[in-house]
């Protein structure tokens, strides 16, 4: 062990003599305050921590090579890189000009356990700081009141399990986790998962069998009462800042990794950054003062951000949306509270300009969307920072949709989806179908073929959704139902994809999500094609559409040459009467900046912002040639359409009735 310490001492002493490299230094926009530090290869980073000046220590071990300690200064410049003799490092900590390194293993004098070594960065002296006999592995270390605290797996608690059903569905199990202080005292709390230091003590995130996930502080030798939270679930990594705030990472339901910041006293957290990659093998999230370091999954580098630029102190933005809307946009450090209403209630809320909501989330597919666009009065965003620049980056039709006749910007689009048929090119070629150039009838033939081939559970979504989409696409392009195109299509749907069951119920049995499991089947070539909308995924979750090199995407057939592709768009508009207007506008500004910098959004017109795959090219073309389908209230045509499909109404009656209502709706 002494050899190790001497070696490390030498490396520390020669830090200043090392060459300075600046290859890894980049900076993003000032808004994001991010600096790229270290290019991460899979498995190579063992641990990292920041120092008081904003510099970063990284212990890395490229595959097959020994560990190195690399130091980057506050500008991201690599100052030194020196070899260490540690085979692995679990965690590291910079405190009071000392570097603490935690690792697990076997030592002749101690046996198996976890160890922490300390190195004085001024003198270069190093020594073993402490030994945790009970911890077979150490997950993280922290410092409180000058004493090292370590969390890890306790050999004495082997077999003790925590089983809690998060949100009633996901089973989470933790085994034998514990936290010990340097003195050997255990901080007794049930199944601690993560811990970090706050200004005045320790913050613990754990789970208990009865009440689930909790935050708990350890200050002056005492544990606070747990604050239970259902928002975060299983987290990866925890870093503290201030006296009660934390940063962590979680995988949200759209399946992408998000950095969240929150308040330990309330247990709530807001998204502040996407594509943050944390696994058990990688080091986690680290903070020092207002700075936070993490691994960015897209850049593949350790990045540093200034937390105040991202975290808004859990300020709440209250968002109205209709029942049809799902999900929330990226929260940009704000806590977004969603209230859902029916169309009439939503209209009343907007008309009355209630002060108790801040932003309105409008899905073009919801019945009230067209009205909200046409008549809703929202705060003009022309002077809001970054909004015009963001709109300039969009496909022209999206930009136009955000601007009223008198030139006011009433909203920004935050997400888009559309009717897209994903298919495996290799397999489809064998079937003889050319999905990129089909008539509606050929398209129906193809869907029928997929079902006949036993792919009915994967071939398409339910008949109702399918036929509804066909209708929505039609009405986005035509003003009347009284056309030969519509008659032909309606009869095709009724005879071949009638969603109305004999008992009057709607057939929704064939719905299947374009899940990651299905993606795996795609990869194996087991599935030929899927009719699917591109779901309202968070933008950063879309990359999995683009994984498979054989995957292609085709639009729905056009009714006539020169047709457009139906797209659904989610807009966000600001309530001019909001008593939280300043924060709302700041949120819009942050969101515009965030989306404008994302890849594979299929809203931005810059081709450079998309993956270099066939599927991405297909989707770009589809969404570039889009037309927004504003849904009409159900009673305009949808209810009668169901009557027609159920055989209660003839096609002529439907056309006459729907046209009459449509005319009144548009004319009144």
């Amino acid at each position: 062990m002494k050899k190790v310490l001497v070696l490390f001492l030498v490396t520390v002493l020669i830090f200043s003599a090392c060459s300075v490299k600046t290859d890894n230094v980049e900076s993003n926009s000032a808004q994001f305050s991010a600096y790229l530090f270290y290019e991460v290869e899979y498995g190579d980073v063992k641990a990292f921590c920041g120092d008081d000046k904003g510099g970063l220590y990284v212990v890395a071990s490229p595959f097959g090579e020994p560990c190195s300690l690399i130091y980057f200064d506050e500008n991201g410049a690599e100052i030194s890189s020196n070899e260490l003799t540690y085979s692995t490092v679990n965690d590291m900590l910079f405190y009071d000009n000392r570097l603490y390194i935690a690792y697990s293993g076997y030592k002749v004098d101690y046996g198996t356990g976890s160890f922490v070594d300390v190195f004085d960065m001024e003198t270069g002296e190093g020594s073993q700081c402490c030994y945790f006999q009970n911890l077979s592995t150490v997950k993280s270390i922290a410092m409180i009141d000058g004493e090292i605290v370590a969390a890890g797996t306790d050999t004495k608690k082997t077999g003790m399990k925590c089983t809690y059903l998060w949100n009633g569905r996901e089973e989470v199990t933790y085994q034998g986790t514990a936290i010990y202080m340097q003195s050997g005292k255990e901080i007794e709390t049930s199944f601690p998962m993560e811990m970090c230091t706050l200004e005045n003590g320790l913050l613990i995130y754990g789970c208990d069998n009865e009440n689930g996930y909790y935050f708990r502080k350890y200050e002056k030798g005492e544990l606070s009462e747990p604050v239970y939270t259902e928002q975060l679930g299983k987290i990866k990594g925890l870093a503290g800042f201030g006296d009660n705030s934390f940063v962590t990472q979680s995988v949200n339901r759209s399946g992408y990794e998000t950095l969240l910041a929150g308040n330990a006293d309330t247990g709530s957290a807001a998204e502040i950054f996407t594509n943050v990659f944390v696994t058990g093998e990688y080091p986690e999230i680290k903070t020092k003062g207002d700075l936070c370091w993490f691994i960015n999954n897209v850049s593949g580098k350790i990045e540093r951000i200034s937390l105040p630029a991202y975290y808004k102190g859990n300020q709440t933005i209250r968002m109205l949306c209709s029942f049809h809307s799902d999900g929330t946009p990226f929260t940009c450090g704000y806590n977004i509270e969603t209230e859902k209403y029916g169309n009439e209630e939503l209209a009343l809320k907007i008309l009355s300009q209630d002060r108790d909501y801040d932003i309105c989330y409008v899905n073009s597919r919801a019945g009230a969307a067209g009205n909200i666009r046409d008549k809703g009065s929202f705060y003009p965003l022309n002077d809001t920072k970054g909004v015009e620049e963001y709109l300039d980056k969009l496909f022209p039709y999206l930009k136009d949709a955000c601007i009223t006749e008198n030139g006011e910007i009433w909203c920004i689009p935050v997400n888009i989806d559309g009717q897209v048929h994903f298919y495996n090119e290799e397999n489809i070629v064998k079937t003889g179908f050319d999905l990129q150039n089909m008539t509606m009838e050929q398209y129906f033939d193809y869907i029928g073929y997929m079902k006949a081939e036993g792919l009915s559970d994967k071939a398409c979504r339910d008949s109702w959704t399918f036929s509804e989409m066909v209708l929505l696409k039609y009405i986005a392009e035509y003003d009347s139902f009284d056309t030969p195109v519509f008659s032909e299509t309606a009869q095709l749907i009724k005879s071949r994809f009638n969603c109305m069951n004999a008992d009057g119920t709607i057939d929704t049995t064939e719905f299947v999500d374009l899940s990651s499991k299905l993606q795996q089947e795609f990869l194996k070539g087991d599935v030929s094609g899927i009719y699917s909308e591109m779901h309202m995924l968070r933008i950063s979750g879309r990359f999995y559409y683009l994984w498979n090199e054989n995957m292609r995407a085709a639009p729905m057939p056009y009714y006539e040459n020169g047709g457009k592709n139906l797209v659904n768009v989610i807009f966000i508009a600001v309530n001019p009467s909001s008593d939280n207007l300043s924060a709302s506008l700041d949120y819009i500004s942050s969101l515009a900046d965030y989306i404008g910098s994302q890849t594979d959004t299929f809203m931005l017109s810059d081709k450079e912002m998309y993956s270099d795959t066939k599927c991405a090219d297909d989707l770009y073309e589809i969404f570039e040639n889009g037309i927004i389908g504003y849904a009409f209230p159900d009673e305009i045509y949808r209810t009668d359409y169901m009557s027609y499909l159920a055989g209660e109404m003839s096609l002529d009656e439907f056309i006459a009735e729907a046209d009459r209502k449509l005319s009144a709706y548009k004319g009144e």
Partner: protein, 260 residues
């Protein structure tokens, strides 16, 4: 405290309530009808009124609403008069059934509409709505008119008979002049109620877009509300209130002239 002051004090809560719940909101609606948008609030004069008056669906709604008044209100009043006469002067056992005429006022509209739908199979004519209106309002008209009939002192008729008046003279010189204020009032009430037929009509057709013959002003306003078109809503509301106001003023003028 003087009697007048006491009266004014007693009226005060009512006046305050009227101001808060009717006058102030009305002024606000009037204001919204004169601006372009509730956020920008640029004064546009009568532009909203001109646009609304030119709107073909407003014209259709106005025509249907007026038609409802012209056709249904006279029928309703005549029918009510007829029934009231029978109830007041007719066979005694018939009089005991007078409570039945109040039933339409207490039966929930939804259940009435359900029955109505089973009676009328198609929506080709406006007849179901007209009948629904008459059926729904005839009760209150009968109650008011019957009260007016029964309030006439029999001694007046006896005195007239002693003076040699026949039945025709009795009714034209005594009955009609005495009940006329009630008839005017009932007529005005029915006119106002004709603007409230929306609920029944909506339940009957089950849509905000009924057949053109049944599309009334309430549909126009309700649909513009759902479409967040506050200016059209406010403008059509003001226009409707003006129409009602003119009808009431006209009715009162006729009544005054009749008295003179």
């Amino acid at each position: 405290m003087k009697w007048n002051t006491k009266c004014k004090l007693c009226l005060l809560p009512s006046l305050i309530g009227t101001a808060i719940f009717f006058v102030i909101p009305y002024i606000r609606v009037l204001y919204y009808s004169l601006i372009d948008n509730q956020f920008r609030r640029n004064f546009v004069g009568l532009q909203n009124y001109l646009e609304t008056l030119e709107n073909e669906y407003f014209q259709l709604a106005l025509k249907n609403s007026l038609l409802l008044i012209i056709v249904c209100v006279p029928v309703l009043i005549l029918l009510s008069l007829e029934v009231s006469l029978v109830l007041s002067y007719g066979i005694k056992w018939v009089r005991k059934t007078r409570f039945a005429f109040v039933l339409p006022m207490v039966i929930p509209t939804a259940s009435v509409v359900l029955i109505w739908r089973s009676v009328f199979e198609n929506d080709a004519t406006v007849l179901p709505i007209y009948l629904l209106f008459i059926w729904k309002n005839i009760g209150i008209c009968i109650v008011l008119l019957t009260a007016a009939f029964t309030a006439i002192e029999q001694s007046i008729y006896e005195a007239a008979r002693l003076d040699g008046a026949n039945s025709f003279i009795l009714h034209t010189k005594i009955t009609i002049p005495i009940i006329m204020p009630t008839v005017f009032f009932t007529t005005l009430l029915s006119v106002v109620n004709s603007f409230k037929i929306f609920k029944e009509s909506y339940l009957y057709y089950g849509t905000n877009y009924p057949p053109d013959h049944s599309y009334t002003l309430q549909y126009y306003m309700n649909n513009n509300f759902l479409k967040l078109d506050y200016q059209s809503l406010a403008t059509s509301a003001v226009l409707t209130s003006m129409i009602v106001f003119l009808i009431v003023i006209g009715g009162m003028a006729v009544q005054r002239r009749y008295r003179q």
